[in-house]
């Protein structure tokens, strides 16, 4: 008996040692984590108690990334946008606003751009912002030209030149009107201080430290947990009202809402950062202020004109009349997105061309289908033509919480006019594959938005390979339309440019190549003590500079 008892004892002690061994390695690690977080909260705590120091805490789904101004993921757009500055900023309605360039001249032939840089701008390490540094940044960007080839101006740059300490000149290969607008994008055309460059000068291999001219300085950083930005007191422009901005990584949308309710964070901001139901609940609770931005981009459906029923213009037009967009935005997005009548919202440059919206009218839709030869047989609910039923496929992103319910609603809308819709929900990459092959009748898509559109929109339309050019091949005037799209980017004459855009938007609208659904917006939810929220016109910029806390 004793022998057996002893053995049981040994077995259980072994189990416990294994378990404890597993724990101890972790707990030591946890302790070190805890120690560093204590430091962070030690420094944060006086900020809250001392009335003069204002700290704003926000959440973001992901880590801010390495803050490299010239690279893409895992750098987060918002962080690069708030941290680094462009030569030119994108303002309300696409108006170009001086930023690090005080002014600029464009030569007669539209190929040479001379930037007069702002004087007395210093980087956070105390060095001067000069034409030399601008050139250094351009050199590393152009060394990785292929990576940035999506941005028209990069592939157009032939030569960069330091004229004097505060003048910088860029020569393009050919005329390209959106060049100035593209200097406002977040990446890669923003400026890192010389000391931040790696030894080989190529920022594609990483940066030494994030040295900026901007209003914020990264002061503490714990990857995947938290980043603390402190106001740059030597900032050349209007300094932020708050002293400290803490960005907490909260991956789960519902947890973000709970963190706001608990008071762990002071602001929820961005596109699709919380579910639209949660947004409405917070708005109706009366405890928080909520705001919705102007249109930033468009959500639309690409209609494939090359094959199937939508090769016929009348069927495309019927689609325009049959989908109840207002019900879609009200029902699915609780009115957070705005119903869209045109593919590019009228608040975008050159896009306010007075197109007549298609009204929601089932009778019109039905008669258009009749004209197209799709008749409703006696006793059936799906139309037929030559014995073939009217069936189409709608592809959407399976995990998208807006596209999915919208797709279902469109399915039932189209059922009412006798069209049977097959829904296909795909993971993002697989959906891209289908899009590139133009292998669907209808496909959910969204534009790049401000500051990229409308010029980036037209280049995605005329360049083969993304599936949009391919889906437009059924148009009788496809070649002419795509030629106009190429021409508009090269026109330097403002009136001619507007004329071309008007023609392009009119053709796309009349030919019903897109079914515009809604305009995407950013949302903000914050307690009443947060004031001064103003949405930037630029999709990837943030409103932190103007925010204030009044407790």
């Amino acid at each position: 008996m004793l022998h057996k008892g002893l053995r049981t004892f040994i077995i259980f002690s072994i189990i416990f040692t294994i378990i404890l061994a597993g724990c101890s390695s972790n707990s030591s690690n946890k302790e070190s984590n805890a120690a560093s977080s204590v430091n962070a909260s030690d420094t944060a705590a006086p900020a809250n108690t001392a009335a003069e120091e204002k700290t704003l805490t926000i959440s973001w789904p992901k880590d801010i990334g390495p803050l490299n101004p010239h690279q893409y993921a895992p750098n987060e757009f918002f962080a690069q946008g708030m941290y680094y500055e462009p030569l030119i900023d994108y303002g309300e309605g696409g108006k170009l606003v001086p930023k690090l360039a005080e002014s600029w001249d464009v030569s007669e032939d539209g190929k040479t751009y001379t930037f007069h840089l702002r004087k007395n701008v210093k980087f956070t390490d105390g060095s001067d912002f000069t034409a030399e540094v601008v050139k250094k940044n351009f050199d590393t960007i152009l060394a990785n030209r292929d990576m940035h080839s999506w941005l028209g101006v990069i592939s157009q740059i032939e030569n960069t030149e330091v004229v004097d300490a505060n003048t910088f000149k860029i020569t393009l290969k050919s005329q390209y009107y959106p060049a100035l607008q593209e200097f406002a994008v977040v990446r890669p055309l923003r400026f890192l201080g010389a000391a931040g460059f790696p030894d080989d000068g190529n920022t594609a291999n990483g940066i030494k430290s994030p040295i900026t001219t901007g209003p914020w300085v990264l002061s503490e950083y714990k990857k995947d947990e938290e980043a603390v930005f402190t106001r740059n007191d030597n900032y050349w422009g209007t300094k932020p009202n708050i002293d400290k901005l803490i960005v907490k990584v909260i991956p789960d949308p519902e947890a973000r809402v709970l963190a706001l309710e608990k008071g762990d964070i002071d602001l929820i901001y961005g596109e699709g950062v919380i579910s639209l139901d949660a947004f409405v609940n917070l708005r109706d609770s009366g405890k928080f202020e909520t705001a919705v931005s102007d249109p930033l981009a468009s959500r639309a459906i690409i209609v494939n004109t090359t094959k199937g029923p939508f090769a016929d213009l009348n069927v495309r037009l019927a689609l325009q009349h049959a989908v109840n967009k207002q019900a879609l935005v009200d029902g699915v997005t609780n009115g957070v997105e705005k119903a869209a009548d045109t593919i590019i919202a009228p608040n975008f440059p050159y896009a306010n061309v007075g197109l007549k919206p298609y009204d929601y009218n089932l009778e019109t839709a039905k008669s258009l289908l009749d004209q197209a030869g799709w008749k409703l047989p006696e006793g059936k609910s799906i139309r037929e033509k030559n014995g073939q039923p009217l069936e189409i496929e709608l592809v959407y992103m399976g995990d998208d919480e807006v596209e999915k319910p919208m797709a279902t609603a469109i399915q039932s809308d189209l059922k009412q006019i006798g069209i049977n819709v097959k829904l296909t929900g795909l993971e993002r990459q697989l959906r891209n594959k289908r899009m590139e092959a133009a292998d669907s009748d209808l496909l959910f898509w969204s534009t790049y938005g401000a500051p990229y559109d409308p010029h980036n929109f037209v280049s995605t339309n005329y360049e083969p390979g993304y599936g949009i050019f391919e889906a437009q091949q059924g148009l009788p005037m496809a070649n002419e339309l795509h030629q106009q799209m190429k021409d508009v980017l090269l026109t330097t004459d403002e009136a001619k440019r507007q004329e071309l855009y008007t023609s392009i938007f009119t053709t796309l609208h009349d030919q019903a190549v897109y079914l515009p659904i809604s305009y995407l917006t950013s949302i903000a939810v914050y307690p009443k003590y947060v004031t001064g929220l103003k949405f930037p016109a630029h999709r990837d910029e943030t409103p932190f500079d103007t925010l204030d806390i009044q407790k």
Binding site: I18, C23, W150
Partner: protein
């Protein structure tokens, strides 16, 4: 020596398993129709121009032939180098090194909690069969196996964190961060384990040795804990061994909700990004953990009942 032989054999068996897992994951990934270069650009919200795609492909070494890529990966693996993440450009070992401890702490604490709660629950419901406690345990088990993890998690957060502020909501800084996620994860395990244990105990009570023990005047509780439990706990240990791997691999939802930057959410994102080196490294580690979990369970089984190792020895014709 019998047991150590058995252990050595099991350790050697992991080598072909790991090699097989790495080859299969390596080839399956390259059979998928999605180009990681394009995936990277899409994640970056950049239009995938031909120039950019081919620049990235050569940067990532994806333009090289399949076997050359596999040879490099295998060669690096021998030096414990899992390659560099396509996405973050950091070594995969570093990425996993930062995340594995969080997931490990979560998995092991959930497992301990589950076993620790299941034993008294199982004992109580076996002793009080078809009486009040048994019914309560049955309802608990029913809830545990049917309630979705995210539901349990949000309920716990809402009451214990937001309302009563007993535990932090996000992060993995201190042990207090692990309490709610561990409860969430162990909830469904407790349901399974306590029912397994109850069934085992009730079956054990019919064994002749229990009758003899009773004849010797031992009390039922003592018989249960000192004799029957040793046998009845074996299925629970097997299940726990299998669950260890599952907890490492499948705590995605809980990690996301509680903002713990562990392996689960990282892996899921890497799949969407088609980050081959991370996926390969992750699969290899998971294969190892599954094998290891089962191995530990088997070792404990053998110790609880050395006959199982002996039987294996006999079959080998020792």
């Amino acid at each position: 020596m019998k047991i150590s032989n058995f252990i050595w054999k099991r350790i050697w068996m992991t080598v072909p398993v790991l090699l097989g897992a790495s080859f299969v994951s390596f080839s399956l990934l390259r059979l998928t129709p999605i180009d990681p270069a394009k995936a990277y650009l899409t994640v970056s919200n950049v239009r995938p121009t031909d120039e950019a795609v081919s620049a990235i492909r050569s940067q990532l070494g994806l333009d090289r032939p399949f076997f050359s890529q596999f040879a490099t990966w295998l060669g690096d693996l021998l030096h414990f180098n899992f390659g560099t993440s396509f996405y973050s450009k950091l070594p995969v070992t570093e990425e996993l090194y930062n995340r594995l401890p969080i997931t490990a702490a979560l998995a092991i604490s959930s497992l301990i909690l589950a076993v620790a709660v299941s034993i008294p629950l199982g004992l109580a419901s076996a002793l009080q069969k078809d009486r009040f406690i048994d019914h309560v345990c049955r309802v608990l088990a029913f809830l545990g196996s049917s309630a979705p993890q995210f539901g349990v998690a949000y309920l716990l957060i809402y009451f214990l964190s937001v309302k009563w502020d007993m535990f932090p909501l996000q992060g993995a800084d201190s042990w207090r961060n692990y309490v709610l996620p561990a409860i969430t994860l162990s909830f469904s395990l407790i349901a399974t384990y306590s029912r397994l244990l109850r069934a085992g105990l009730l079956k054990g009570l019919n064994e002749p040795f229990v009758l003899y023990a009773k004849a010797r005047g031992m009390r039922t509780f003592a018989i249960l804990t000192r004799h029957v439990l040793r046998h009845a706990i074996r299925p629970v240990i097997t299940a726990a061994g299998m669950n260890l791997g599952k907890l490492f691999a499948g705590s995605v939802i809980v990690e996301q909700i509680f903002g713990m930057q562990g392996m689960g959410g990282f892996f899921l994102e890497s799949v969407f990004r088609r980050d081959y080196p991370v996926i390969q490294g992750y699969i290899l580690i998971m294969a190892f953990i599954f094998v290891f979990g089962n191995f530990i369970a088997d070792v404990i089984q053998t110790m609880l009942d050395p006959r199982s190792a002996l039987e294996q020895g006999k079959v080998r014709g020792r």
